[in-house]
Assembly symmetry: C2
Homo-oligomer: 256 residues x 2
C-alpha cells in the first residue's frame, strides 16, 4: 500500500472560513493534513509577502478532525513559505488552497491570495491547486464542490504536474445536479472596470472605496468564464514564467 | 509637431524615494507627467489591492519639476487604478513604475509591487514599463540609468506594445561606462530559498523574520539573470495571461 500523501492546506479568507473547513474535510479523506493559514482574511493580497515586519504562528485546534493546524499572522504566500520551511516535518506532496469564497477565474488570478499560495508552492516545486467557489458569502454552501475537489486532487496526485505549472479551479454556484462536469480552459481576457466611490470623512477630507464592474469581452468558448457560465467547473493550468515569449522576436528589432 | 505624451509615474518604494525622483526627471524631458505613488514603502506587496479599507490621496509638491503629484495611501496597483479613473483628466499614453531600489528580475517579478503597477496599467490597456536598479540602498545612484530609461521609454512610445504585454527592465549596479547595452531576455527560472530567522519576544513568544538566498539554477544565456551578470540591462516582455497553454492538451487526457 502507498504511504498517505502529506497535504499542506491554506487559503486567503482566514483559517476560520467555512471554505477551508470544507477543503480540510475532503483532504482528510485523501492524506495526512497540515493546515497553515492566515489568522485573518487576506483577500486581494495578490502575491504579497511580509518583508518588513515579523511573523507569528501558533498551533490551534478548530474542529474535531485529525489534521494539525497553525494559524499565521502573514499573507497566504507567507503561510506556504513558513509551512514548508519551518512547520512541516517534511516537504508536502501537495499544497491545496481555498476553497475561496468568490471567483478567481480570468484576471482575478492576478489579485488572488488563494492562487498566490498555490503559485508559491509551485515555485517551491510542490504540486499545487487553488479552489474557488463563485459565492462571496461567508455561509456559502461547499457541499456540492466536495466530490469534484476530491476527483481533481486525486488526479494531481496520480499524474503530477509539470515544473512551473499549478492549477486554478473555479466552481459555479449552482446545485450539484446542475454541474455539467469539469472543463479544461484558458484564462479569459477580461478585466475590472473600476469605479471609485468618493466620499468625505466627518472632518471633510476626501476618501475612496474601490468598487468595479467585471467586463468580459472575450468571446472564446475555451475560456474559464465561458465554462462557468455554462455550468462547468473550470480548470486552468497556471504558469509563473511571465515571459511573453511571442514578443521576444519583435523586441529584438527595436532600436535599443 | 506631435502632442506631448501624458505619462503616469508610480513606484512601490514610496513617493519620496530617490528612484522615483530620477524617473520623474527623465519623464519630464519626454512628456507631461502626473505622479500617483504610495505615501509609504510597499515592497513585497505583489499585486495587492485595497478592498476592505478606504483610500486617501492628496496633491503634493516634492521638488521643483513641472509634474503634478498625488500621494496615495494604497498599494502600487491601487495608485494606477486611482490615477487612471479619478486623478488624471484623460487616460495616460504610458505608465512607468520605479525606478525600484533592488532587482525585479527572474521570479522577483511575482513579488514585485513595481511590476504589479506596470501590469495593472497593462490590464487597463495602457503601455507600461517597470524599471529597477540592482541596488537596494536608499542612496543608490540612478544617474547611470537615466539615458537607458529614456531610450527604452522612447522606443515604447514609438513602437507601442501589444495588448497583454508590459516590459520589465532591470539595470545592473555598475558604472555607466561598464554597461554593455540592452538585452532582450526571458525570465530566468530561479527562486528564493527561504530561511526563517526564529526569535523570541521579550515575553517568550516565538516569532520569525523572513530571510532567504536567491538561487539561480537556470544555465540559459538568454535569461535576465545572465544578462545582468554580464553587465547588460535586461528587458523582459511580461504577460498577464497566466495560462500554461502548453499543458492544456495533457490535462484534457486526465480522467476528470
Amino acid at each position: 500500500m502507498h504511504k498517505r500523501p502529506l497535504i499542506l492546506v491554506t487559503n486567503d479568507d482566514g483559517i476560520n472560513a467555512p471554505g477551508i473547513r470544507a477543503l480540510i474535510a475532503v483532504m482528510n479523506t485523501i492524506g495526512d493534513v497540515v493546515v497553515v493559514a492566515p489568522n485573518s482574511p487576506q483577500s486581494g493580497m495578490g502575491h504579497a509577502i511580509t518583508l518588513n515586519s515579523t511573523l507569528y504562528s501558533e498551533e490551534v485546534r478548530l474542529d474535531n478532525g485529525p489534521q494539525k493546524e497553525f494559524s499565521c499572522s502573514g499573507t497566504p504566500a507567507d503561510c506556504v513559505k513558513l509551512g514548508i520551511r519551518e512547520l512541516l516535518d517534511s516537504p508536502p506532496d501537495l499544497c491545496v488552497s481555498g476553497i475561496n469564497h468568490g471567483s478567481n477565474a480570468s484576471i482575478n488570478v492576478i489579485y488572488s491570495g488563494t492562487m498566490s499560495a498555490a503559485i508559491e508552492a509551485g515555485i517551491e516545486g510542490i504540486p499545487a491547486i487553488g479552489f474557488s467557489l463563485l459565492d462571496y458569502n461567508w455561509d456559502a454552501n461547499f457541499e456540492a464542490c466536495k466530490s469534484y475537489v476530491k476527483t481533481i486532487t486525486q488526479n494531481v496526485l496520480e499524474h503530477g504536474l509539470p515544473n512551473g505549472v499549478v492549477l486554478n479551479v473555479n466552481i459555479p454556484n449552482i446545485p450539484k445536479k446542475e454541474i455539467k462536469g469539469i472543463k479544461v480552459c484558458r484564462q479569459a481576457k477580461a478585466n475590472w472596470v473600476e469605479e471609485f466611490d468618493k466620499r468625505k470623512t466627518p472632518q471633510g477630507k476626501d476618501y475612496y472605496w474601490l468598487t468595479g464592474k467585471f467586463v468580459n469581452l472575450d468571446g472564446g468558448k475555451d475560456t474559464d468564464e465561458w465554462a462557468l457560465e455554462k455550468g462547468y467547473i473550470s480548470l486552468v493550468p497556471v504558469q509563473f514564467d511571465l515571459t511573453a515569449h511571442h514578443f521576444l522576436k519583435d523586441l529584438n528589432n527595436w532600436n535599443l
